[in-house]
């Protein structure tokens, strides 16, 4: 039987639209459900006080602060390192066996399951370097996980800067570094920042890498130094969902909502930076 072209076209349209809706629906449902169930839990007390009564009451303040510390600390380590590596790969590295190997290593690093990073961090930072379960060990572990994202997006952003800008700058008596610092980096910055935020956002939401390296089950106070363990939102969520019997549901969803808001607002900032830079661009 021959189906007319119009009907084929109609079927294709319906199928493609359905696929799109099917993909978008879970996102809307997840966010919506968490928001609806979790919202009643969100009070000043919930956000700003420590948990008590075996974590069944009180708030999540130490976990919020812990996640902030971990994210910031990861940024401090991974951002300069990642951008520097990206500059090397994009601007200085010749295409040879060594740099190809480095690139393959970075790509593979991005594919490693996050629990493996956690185990590696436990072995290297917690045990071998004797940092103990601590913020610093968690940040270092998260940094290793985040670096591939930062390096590859930053390298891509640097490569997108027109070659002619570099030639012009060199021809005006610029050194390679002057050219990078004054022309290439400013041009690539929005793209680099997007990568940075996307990487840090992943670090903020991960549980496995901090499971053995930084996270404390329960800590009534805030950490005092980078060598202290800390509570963190994703791990806290894991704990109150699986380890504490009789946990009120709205506390779990409230915690999830806070974590989600944290991560999504980072996403929003990244999007804003990108669209702003695009609007400003005139060349």
């Amino acid at each position: 039987m021959i189906i007319s072209r119009q009907i084929t076209q109609r079927i294709a349209f319906v199928l493609l639209t359905a696929a799109t809706i099917l993909t978008a629906a879970p996102i809307v449902l997840v966010v919506g459900y968490i928001a609806v169930v979790g919202a009643p839990a969100i009070t000043v007390d919930f956000l700003a006080s420590a948990p008590h009564d075996g974590m069944r009451a009180g708030g999540i303040w130490p976990a919020i602060v812990g996640t902030l510390y971990l994210t910031l600390g990861t940024g401090v380590i991974a951002v300069p390192l990642g951008i520097a590596a990206a500059i090397y790969l994009a601007e200085y590295a010749k295409d040879n066996r060594l740099t190809r190997a480095i690139r393959i290593a970075i790509i593979n690093l991005a594919g490693i399951p996050s629990v493996v990073y956690g185990l590696f961090g436990l072995g290297l930072f917690v045990l071998f370097l004797r940092f103990g379960t601590s913020i610093i060990a968690g940040c270092l572990t998260l940094s290793i996980m985040t670096l591939p994202v930062i390096i590859s997006t930053a390298e891509e952003a640097l490569r997108a800067v027109p070659q002619s800008f570099r030639v012009v700058s060199i021809s005006l008596g610029g050194t390679k570094w002057q050219t990078i610092r004054r022309v290439v980096l400013p041009e690539a910055l929005p793209g680099i920042l997007t990568g940075v935020i996307l990487g840090l956002e992943r670090a903020a939401g991960e549980t496995a890498p901090i499971l053995f390296t930084a996270a404390a089950f329960f800590l009534p106070r805030l950490p005092n130094s980078i060598f202290d363990a800390t509570m963190a939102l994703p791990y806290h969520l894991f704990v109150i969902s699986t380890q504490v019997p009789g946990m009120p549901l709205k506390v779990q969803y409230g915690t999830a909502l806070v974590l989600l808001t944290f991560v999504l607002s980072m996403n929003l900032i990244a999007t804003m930076i990108r669209s702003r830079a695009r609007a400003r661009r005139q060349w």
Binding site: V167, I170, L172, G173, R182, W283
Partner: protein, 255 residues
Amino acid sequence: MNHANAKIVVETLSVQYDDGTESLRDISLAIPANQITVLFGPAGGGKSTLLRALNRLNDLVDGVRLGGKIYLDGEDMTGASVDTVALRRRVGMVFAQPVPLPMTVRQNVTYGLELAGVRDSRKKEAAVEKALRAAALWDEVKDRLNAPAAALSGGQQQRLCLARVLALEPEVVLLDEPTSGLDPISTAKVEESLQEIKRDYTIVIVPHSVQQAARIADYAAFFLQGELVEHGAGQELFLAPKDKRTEDYVTGRFG
């Protein structure tokens, strides 16, 4: 010409690419100071390669091998130990496509100066006006110095690129088909400013047509497939070429 008033002397220069193709073959040429020297000929003749050899921009391309010598004021510029950054400040370059840097008009002009370490803002201001005047652009942009350079028209952008080079007060200005993308009026303005500035600078230009070559040449060199066929004073070469191939090209029989 004798070498006494030559700014640049090219001696048995050859440029080869890694894949074996030869871009320039055994070129010897003296470029006179304070004149407009025109390098012309059909595409692929090696004119741009020679320009890029003069301020070592070929260094940026992998797999280029260079033989022979290039003397600037009697000093060899081809060695590995030559300070290419200093050389490029003495020998500036304007490209075929105007590439304004992603900054304001003013910042484009002061860019090279700032790279060279000039901090004094009064000095920079003065240089901006002087360079833009020399490039015949001042009147058009004096009220738009803080506008993005990319907002200028193509012809204005190309004169901005010239101004940007002149701000460094180089000794030699290289121009690679600087008017290829411009309308006749902008072209005339660029040519006019070249005539103005040759008092202070040595100019080497790859023109975008034989007509332009004939219009502006004080001294001319004809390139064909990597070979320097003939060179001499502009009028002589265009009116009475010695080589048959030059004559054929100049009279429009090929090219």
